[in-house]
């Protein structure tokens, strides 16, 4: 990978025509829609997009409309990465026959359901075979499209329709699956996490992922105001608070070498800037029950787990642990 620095300025982004078009039917305040708009702003040339079933596939392709200004293929829930592998193989064959001359980038997009749970084996296989594609996971932390069912990406304590909060259970009982670490364990050249609030960081990581000759994985945090029962106006705010509270730290792993990205690096250097997880959790209806007296142990557990994972990440990144 080249070490070239990309300087995406606000004006560059604003002047580049959208490739994920207006008129899609996402809810008001849908951050995955912002994420896809920004991802498509970072493309470097001809691009083919393949997308697993999920919110963003449904809202962008309601017949007979399409919100895509690039070749786009819908595929089943489990096969975004398998489809990308097929496109890669087909392009290689066409190049060998001389029918395609230029390089074409492939982006596979799936939600947390299509990555953490249903799409994991296809993703793991495509990465192992070394196909050249960028996998973008937009993580809104549940199956929002089908009515807010819990997924492997749903955090502890979140109320969903299949893990409702009540007198018996405090929402989901398990922690979020560390999907990005699972992808790093595949010995990939490029794995990163990104948050749309830090848009420049997000675009740079998309471009880095496309530049890699081989598979790359990008995990993007994306608020769902419908499923999180939060104010649509605060959608982008939550993607900032998640980073500031270290619930979703930003880092990249190049050839397995972990490195903190600037927003998280600043928190590592000045631990007093690290916000308590309650700053991020409050205001979200899915965590409302945790702010009642009986929810305190769950809140404490979320804080403990977040601190533990942050300390582990600092160790992986070679940062000396500092106390606030």
């Amino acid at each position: 990978m080249t070490t070239q620095e990309w300087k995406f300025t606000a004006r560059d982004i604003a002047e580049k025509p959208d490739q994920f078009l207006s008129g899609h039917r996402a809810c008001a305040g849908c951050v995955p829609a912002t994420v896809l708009r920004l991802v498509m702003k970072a493309t470097r040339g001809p691009t083919i997009v393949t997308e697993a079933t999920g919110c963003m596939e449904v809202v962008s392709s309601i017949y007979p409309y399409t919100s895509w200004a690039v070749p786009w293929l819908h595929t089943a829930f489990e096969t975004a990465a398998a489809n990308a592998a097929g496109i890669d193989a087909a392009l290689k064959a066409l190049k060998r026959k001389g029918q395609v001359k230029e390089h074409i980038d492939i982006i596979a997009i799936a939600g947390d359901g299509g990555t953490y749970d249903i799409g994991l084996q296809a993703l793991s296989g495509a990465v192992e075979r070394g196909h050249d594609f960028l996998f973008v996971l937009y993580d809104n932390e549940a199956y929002m499209n089908t009515g807010i069912q819990r997924s492997g990406g749903t955090p502890l304590g979140a109320a969903t329709t299949t893990t409702p909060a009540g007198s018996v259970r405090p929402g989901k009982l398990q922690h979020k699956k560390p999907i990005t670490d699972i992808m790093v364990a595949h010995d990939m050249e490029y794995v990163a996490t990104a948050s749309p609030y830090y848009w420049k960081d997000l675009l740079t990581k998309v471009r880095k992922g496309l530049e890699v000759e081989g598979p790359a994985f990008l995990h993007v945090f994306a608020t769902c105001p419908r499923g999180w029962r939060s104010d649509p106006a605060n959608s982008i705010e939550y993607t900032k608070l998640a980073v500031e509270s270290c619930v979703f730290p930003l880092w990249e792993a190049v050839n397995g070498e972990y490195q903190l990205s600037t927003p998280s690096k600043l928190i590592a250097l000045a631990p007093q800037k690290k916000k308590p997880v309650t700053d991020y959790l409050k205001g979200q209806g899915r965590f409302r029950h945790l702010f009642k007296p009986q929810g305190k142990p769950v809140l404490d557990e979320i804080q403990r787990w977040t601190d533990e994972r942050w300390a582990k990440l600092l160790k992986k990144c070679g940062e000396a642990p500092k106390t606030a």
Partner: protein, 95 residues
């Protein structure tokens, strides 16, 4: 007796896909963004964050335009604007 129409002559069940830019989602909104042009510094943050691509930068005019045909009134732009130049109004704005 008149000839029956062939399959090529009857109305098609499927039609070619068209761009969603001809599908206007602007009437979904409750609140309308209204800009204070004196406070706006054209930093383009609202253009970047808008989920619907409804806020557009027009370089030839040197200004930002809000396309109410697509704005769903989520209020992200008003919340993220560094100079608080956008407010969400219940009544239809003057833009």
């Amino acid at each position: 007796m008149s000839r029956e129409k062939t399959w090529k002559e009857i109305s098609p069940a499927g039609v070619c896909p068209k761009s969603s830019t001809s599908f206007l989602t602007g009437d979904w909104k409750t609140y309308t963004p209204v800009r204070d042009l004196e406070k706006c510094t054209t930093c383009l943050i609202c253009v970047i964050y808008c989920p619907d691509g409804a806020i557009r930068w027009r370089p030839e005019l040197g200004k930002i335009e809000i396309d109410l045909n697509f704005c769903k009134g989520c209020g992200i732009c008003a919340n993220e604007c560094p100079t608080k130049a956008i407010t969400m109004k219940l009544d239809k704005g003057d833009e």
